[in-house]
């Protein structure tokens, strides 16, 4: 401590100390000169006084800190003095770093980050083998038994996401609710930011404890972060719930990619979702009621394998004492215990691969950008050779110089990162605009593009890393010049120049190769997207507007709901510009809904897949969708609960159960016991796409909404003109009936179709941007090297011209050199792309990974741009004035 104090004191007096040292050294030299009688010898023996000073100064200075400051000052001056160089370098880096940070921001949030809870590594996702494959969900009674009777988990929770309506102060809003078991927060060790979590007694008797925990986000957004909200009651789906706590800000549930607004104890299911099937809580233990995700916390000394074995024993005990109502095989003996440190990741199924692909791509972009800057720095190192030689000659140490050069490059990359963050914001904004279709009441993927400290940290880390990466080679080679020729201003001594150019040529070849790979990937994704967009949907998505409403959540009973929907249809159909209108529970190309369906009398073999797509629709649905009715009739106003149950099936179903004969008049059984019902087939419609554009034709069954009421329906409106222009009118009719109903899923079917391709569009769009970026960077790199080479060879070119060479000959000479680099890079890149694109094969639709058009197109584009980058310096070379060139 006293040492530090002394040093600080010395530093404060550094100017006096320095003057004294100066005087002392002079005295020393005088005395020595007097003794030796030879001033030159005295000085020679003393050594370099500047170095003595340097060393002595370190006694009262912080040489590291101070020289860093000097380096920074000097670096900034150098950058300011070369604005062209600085601009190109900073822009290159901004593009590279910005693209990386944007992709990382999503990758980190969705794929990397663990749940913000204690010891997330002990969390496991539990799924069971059921009749058909693995099921990630469980029914509630089974969960309760697992929770109470297992010996391997410290705690076990279940949850499911459901949309809810929050109506406060006359304003209704659709929010995301997480229905959770009462031990949810205790098991996760999540301490609420305010208030408390759920108490054990609030998890016992259905309907007795109406309590909720709000998410931090909803609390801020809807309640202005008012602490007084805790203890107050809010209206959820027309039922009063007391807010007991606010979840911490960093916690957003346990389903990766979702952001629940409110947590409701599962035991209150009947109150929060009054229209839900009461059997969801205490009904039969069948997979039909598997609706809950399970997440457990392993005891400290229990492995996943041990847990799986213990659960298998428990599972078969439970299955023996509770056989399935329909005698179908129950929970298989196997349990899967998987990593749960990131919660449930099912929502990420479609986006995981494109994100990984994009992350790899931006890595390549960063390499190309680094190569660019390294190239620029190498070129500059050439011109700065004299400065560096002078420094070395006057006693600068090599390490010190390298440090100074690295400081400059890190300064550059930090500037690049700062500029890149601007780009990050716009790229992540673009990414988030590709929203996945979410048209049902369940969980939906929410892409979150907010920048946070981790992302900023990543940008900083990446800029330091790139600064060192692209700065090291130039710094090493620049600090090793041949002093004598460099001082004599002969910066282009042949041997030296060739070696440095080799490194630069190598960098350009690498840039070309990498950008070819990115370009090929981009064109493959674009071609794949084209193919996807031209798939025949089986319906006509143009000019159809959809809009969902859930009157059940606003307290409507069945009678009032039926009246609402029938009046709504009447009003909308009367609107001018409406061709047809109908209702449906499912929007095409959304998440879809499945039901078990078989022909009456058909006994399914064990393992036979009798699932089909299922939609409850109003009359005129097929006319609205322009799905041709092939046989029979459409549903009418008379198909009500008083009439015999009817169904319309698609071609695939008809062909499957009644090949070669008419299906009209036959009977199908829809649903699983105990909810199965026999229905008469009254119509057959053409096949269409129900969930995904890429699905194979699959069985589907439609039942009339008038025969089985639902509170949540989606209005489908076919317009004669542009559908968006009808939006206000349709919404007006809805609000004329009840202005307090929250509307959701307001979009056109074209938008629905395009959002169903969001992963492909995301990949194609971003890869195209990145591909063009890579191309631009590589072109700048090539141009830079060629221009510099031409500049260095001015004298040689001048002599050639003076001796009679023609301009175009000189031009060809230069072009050949550049084209050689491009050709090598192109070949390497195409080879690399052949390997790399095989990895993305599963992502492509209707395109082979070695698609000649994609490869050819990428190669051609690169060749054209590279030729331009090559031509400009070559033309300049051919216009060299020999007189000036030789004289210089």
């Amino acid at each position: 401590m006293t040492q530090l104090w002394r040093k600080l004191n010395a530093w404060r007096r550094r100017e006096v100390l320095e003057a004294e040292l100066q005087e002392e050294i002079e005295a020393h030299l005088e005395m020595k000169t007097a003794d030796l009688d030879d001033p030159t010898a005295a000085r020679r023996q003393f050594g370099r006084t500047s170095l003595v000073f340097e060393d002595a100064r370190s006694a009262w200075r912080w040489p590291g800190l101070e020289s860093l400051w000097q380096d920074l000052q000097c670096g900034s001056r150098m950058l300011l003095k070369a604005p062209g160089f600085t601009t190109v370098a900073v822009l290159s880096l901004a593009l590279g770093i910005g693209a990386n940070t944007a992709i990382f921001s999503l990758v980190d949030k969705l794929l990397i980050r663990k749940l913000p809870v204690d010891e997330p590594d002990r969390l496991v996702v539990i799924s069971a083998n059921r009749d058909q494959g693995v099921s990630t969900t469980s029914n509630y009674p089974d969960f309760a038994d697992y929770r109470d009777r297992n010996e391997v988990f410290e705690g076990l929770v279940c949850y499911s996401q459901r949309a809810l309506t929050l109506s406060e102060g006359g304003h209704a809003e659709r929010i995301q609710g997480m229905i959770v078991s009462g031990n949810y927060f205790t098991m996760l060790h999540v301490r609420p930011a305010l208030g408390r979590g759920f108490l054990p007694e609030e998890d016992k008797i259905p309907g007795t404890h109406p309590v909720v925990v709000l998410s931090y986000g909803l609390w801020e957004r809807r309640f202005g972060a008012d602490p007084g909200v805790v203890g107050k009651a809010i209206n959820l789906n027309d039922y009063r719930f007391a807010v007991v706590g606010i979840a911490p800000p960093e916690f957003s549930g346990t389903i990766a990619g979702s952001r629940p607004d409110v947590y409701v104890p599962i035991i209150m299911l009947g109150q929060v979702l009054p229209s839900s099937n009461p059997d969801l809580l205490f009904g039969p233990r069948s997979s039909l009621f598997g609706w809950l995700y399970l997440l457990g916390r392993l005891k400290p000394d229990v492995s996943r394998e041990q847990a799986a074995a213990a659960m298998a024993v428990l599972g078969s005990q439970i299955a023996r004492s509770h056989p399935n109502a329909d005698r179908s095989p129950r929970v298989g003996p196997k349990f899967l215990i998987e990593d749960g440190s990131r919660g449930h990741t099912n929502l990420l199924r479609d986006i995981r691969f494109p994100l990984q692909m994009l992350m790899a791509t931006v890595g390549l972009i960063l390499l190309i950008a680094c190569a660019n800057v390294a190239n620029l720095l190498l070129a500059r190192a050439g011109t700065r050779q004299k400065e560096i030689a002078i420094r070395l000659a006057t006693g600068a140490r090599r390490m010190r110089l390298i440090r100074q050069l690295l400081t400059e490059s890190v300064l550059l990359s930090t500037l690049g990162a700062a500029a890149g963050l601007v780009l990050t914001v716009s790229i992540s904004g673009l990414m988030v605009s590709f929203t996945p279709p979410n048209n049902n009441a369940f969980s939906s993927l929410t892409l979150d593009n907010r920048l946070d400290l981790r992302v900023l940290g990543f940008a900083l880390a990446i800029s330091l890393l790139t600064g060192i990466l692209f700065g090291l080679a130039p710094a090493l080679s620049a600090s090793r010049p041949d002093l004598v020729p460099a001082l004599k201003d002969e910066a282009t001594v042949l041997g030296k120049r060739v070696r440095r150019l080799n490194l630069r040529n190598f960098l350009v070849v690498g840039q070309v190769a990498l950008s070819v790979i990115v370009l090929v990937g981009a064109s493959l994704c674009v071609r794949s997207l084209r193919n996807l967009q031209t798939i025949d949907t089986g319906f006509d998505p143009a000019k159809v507007l959809v809009m969902s409403v859930d009157v059940g959540m606003s307290g409507y009973n069945e009678e009032r709901g039926r009246r609402f929907y029938s009046e709504l249809l009447e009003r909308v159909q009367r609107l001018r510009g409406v061709e047809a209108a109908s209702l449906a529970t499912q929007i095409a190309l959304g998440d879809g809904f499945g039901a078990v369906m078989r022909a009456e009398g058909h006994v399914p073999k064990l393992g036979e897949d009798i699932s089909s797509d299922f939609n409850q629709i109003g009359p005129d649905y097929f006319r609205t969708m322009k799905i041709p009715l092939l046989e029979g009739r459409d549903f009418g106003q008379s198909d009500t609960t008083n009439a015999p149950p009817v169904a319309i099936i698609n071609q695939t179903t008809a062909r499957r159960f009644w090949p070669g004969q008419s299906a009209i008049g036959q009977r199908v059984i829809v649903g699983s016991p105990p909810y199965d019902q026999a229905r008469v087939v009254v119509g057959v419609v053409r096949d269409s796409k129900y969930r995904r554009l890429t699905e194979e034709m699959r069985p589907a069954v439609f039942t009339p909404f008038l025969q089985r009421y639902r509170g949540d329906m989606t209005l489908h409106v076919r317009t004669t003109g542009e559908p968006a222009t009808m939006l206000a009118a349709v919404r007006g009719e809805m609000q004329a009936l009840d202005g307090s109903l929250p509307l959701y899923n307001i979009k056109t079917l074209e938008e629905q179709k395009s959002s169903s391709l969001y992963t492909s569009r995301l990949a194609a769009t971003l890869l195209t941007i990145f591909g063009l970026l890579a191309l631009l960077l590589a072109a700048v790199g090539l141009y830079g090297v060629m221009a510099h080479a031409v500049n260095g060879r001015r004298r040689e070119i001048g002599i050639r011209l003076a001796l009679g060479a023609q301009g175009h000959e000189v031009q060809r000479l230069v072009m050949v050199e550049g084209s050689a680099m491009v050709a090598i890079g192109l070949v390497l890149g195409l080879g690399g792309a052949l390997v790399a694109t095989r990895l993305v094969e599963s992502f492509l639709y209707g395109v082979m990974p070695n698609d000649p058009i994609a490869f050819g197109g990428a190669a051609l584009l690169l060749f054209l741009v590279a030729s331009l980058a090559n031509y400009l310096p070559a033309r300049q070379a051919s216009r060299t004035d020999p007189i000036i060139a030789i004289r210089c």
Partner: protein
């Protein structure tokens, strides 16, 4: 024969010199070391002055400007109490080390 002074040893040499001579300037210290070690150790000025500066900051020596016998201004260094303590410790350490080395070199 001239030998490079092992790093760290320069402190002992300088401190011991000051202990022997009393107040002395840099040039005198260098001369003294060279003469006493019969030219074996030559303290380079490039080593001496930085070392003196460090010792000043550490408080082992203090400095004041005086005139030499030849009527020249020079900075004279004097050992402080802390410097004496440092020297005693360093000499003890050094003795232990050299004895150990000698034992290895001449196993008797």
């Amino acid at each position: 024969m001239k030998v490079e002074i092992p790093s760290g040893a320069v402190y002992i040499l300088v401190l011991q010199t000051l202990a022997r001579l009393g107040p002395m300037h840099g040039y005198g210290i260098a001369q003294f070391i060279q003469q006493t070690t019969e030219d074996v150790f030559q303290v380079e000025e490039g080593t001496l002055y930085p070392a003196l500066q460090r010792m000043l900051v550490k408080g082992w020596v203090k400095a004041e400007w005086r005139t030499t016998e030849n009527n020249r201004r020079a900075r004279y260094y004097t050992l402080t109490a802390a410097g004496r303590k440092q020297l005693a410790g360093a000499v003890r350490e050094f003795r232990r080390a050299t004895t150990a080395v000698e034992r290895v070199i001449e196993p008797a």
